[in-house]
Amino acid sequence: MSEILFLAAEAPQYKFGFVVDQPNAVSACLFYLCMGILVWVGVSRARAGLPLPEIKRIPGLEAFDEAVGRATEMGRPVHMTNYDEGIGYEDTFAYWSYMAYVAKLCAQYDTRLIVTDSSYLCNAVHQDIVRQAYLEAGRPDAFNPDDIRYISGTQFAWAMNINGIIAREKPAAQFLIGYFYAEALLIAEAGALIESIQVAATIATTQIPFFIATCDYVMIGEEMYAGAAWLSRDPIITGSVVSQDIFRIVIFVAVILGALLETFAPGHNFIKTFCNF
């Protein structure tokens, strides 16, 4: 295989005469293209207000209002963070939807919102999102840009500072949304120690168990995207969540058919052949 790749100049052996000869090269690309069409259709329908399948309500969403409400009662701040954030990451886009919602709640209830960042580019966006929320609530002067903090991109320097902030500021509610690595438990347990209400949402499968152990509400995997669609009511996210779901069903059916073919007609499993092409 790799020999062919390396000696490509001498002996070109391309699929269809021009596609690089690597496994899955064609199927992976078609997969992407199909999904692209679906997303486009889904989002344009959502924008035009055409009917789309309704998304199932995700348990845990009511916790946002509840947690911010409790923080207001106790007069303590709300803390929101995401470690692996970046401009253009899908988790970060979803995180922004949650942030807009939480910032709106905080602005309405006059509760302090602390946002901590690991990326300075995102920090600039977060400033805008929170400022906008305060503006919409009619109290732009209540917005404090110092509370939207850039910390550091270094994992444990970040975690250490966040743990310090949690212990000092004692937020009554914490929202841990996005992608996390090992620092997830550090932050969530620090929050549990000061008995704050915690809501977590992540697709990082390795960290979900720790969130389940320490947080009051956990949105698992794709529920994070669906939750973002629910809270923001944004046609863009809604449309794309619906198209994701349609594609999931296609995959679901295809894999089950493929497995049946593999069992009862091995050698004629065109689905598997396609996947590997």
């Binding site: 690309c29 992407y32 250490m160 168990p209 794709e222 996947c275 590997n276």
Partner: protein, 205 residues
């Protein structure tokens, strides 16, 4: 590695300063926290010069004579407009963002799905093997848990989704149980340092 006593004492001080957090957040922890933060940021500055800019300046510009690479520097500097200038010129940063994102996305579209395709193909195993059958069933149940639009009112999908949730709990339990080993190892690493390098020479074994 040749640590001096002073170095060991400093490292031990910072180690214990972090552990003091377990009792209560305190001034030692705060000191360690800010030291770590400052050093991480300062180091980032140094590494970007000495691991990125200087080596590539030598190979690309000096050796290969591709001086036009330098023209991309001001383009990257546009990132600064995002953080400065009161948001007035922030749109200029979309140039570097769009260029680098585009280059990354092209790669994702061409290659991103490959690993998933391998996994999908693997899921279609021969169902005569019991493990394969079980694997497929569990996979299907968990997939059904994530059906967000279709089958909201269907009992079958609901039940399968619920079963899928229990299987997820199996995974989370296994993940949790397996991780404990790793986390203890981390502490053991520090313990070895404290006991072997710091305390042992003090009591003279």
């Amino acid at each position: 590695m040749g640590w001096t006593r002073l170095e060991i004492w400093i490292a031990a001080f910072f180690t214990l300063a972090v552990y003091s957090y377990l009792i209560k957040e305190n001034v030692l922890y705060r000191f360690a926290e800010h030291t770590f933060l400052a050093l991480a940021i300062g180091r980032g500055l140094c590494l970007s010069v000495h691991l990125d800019i200087i080596p590539y300046y030598n190979t690309h510009i000096v050796e290969d004579g591709r001086w036009w690479f330098l023209l991309f520097l001001p383009l990257g500097a546009l990132y600064y407009t995002r953080s400065f200038g009161g948001g007035k010129y922030g749109w200029l940063a979309s140039y570097p963002i769009c260029l680098s994102m585009g280059w990354g996305l092209g790669y994702t579209i061409a290659r991103g799905a490959r690993s998933t395709m391998v996994q999908l193909a693997d899921t279609m195993g021969d169902l005569h093997v019991f493990d394969n059958l079980l694997f497929l069933l569990i996979w299907a149940c968990v997939m059904m848990y994530f059906f967000l639009t279709v089958g909201k009112n269907s009992k079958t999908v609901g039940t399968c989704g619920k079963i899928g949730r229990y299987f997820m709990m199996i995974m989370f339990g296994a993940g949790f149980g397996n991780t404990i080993q790793g986390r203890i190892s981390l502490f053991l690493g520090r313990l070895q340092f404290l006991l072997r390098d710091w305390i042992q020479p003090m009591i003279g074994h």
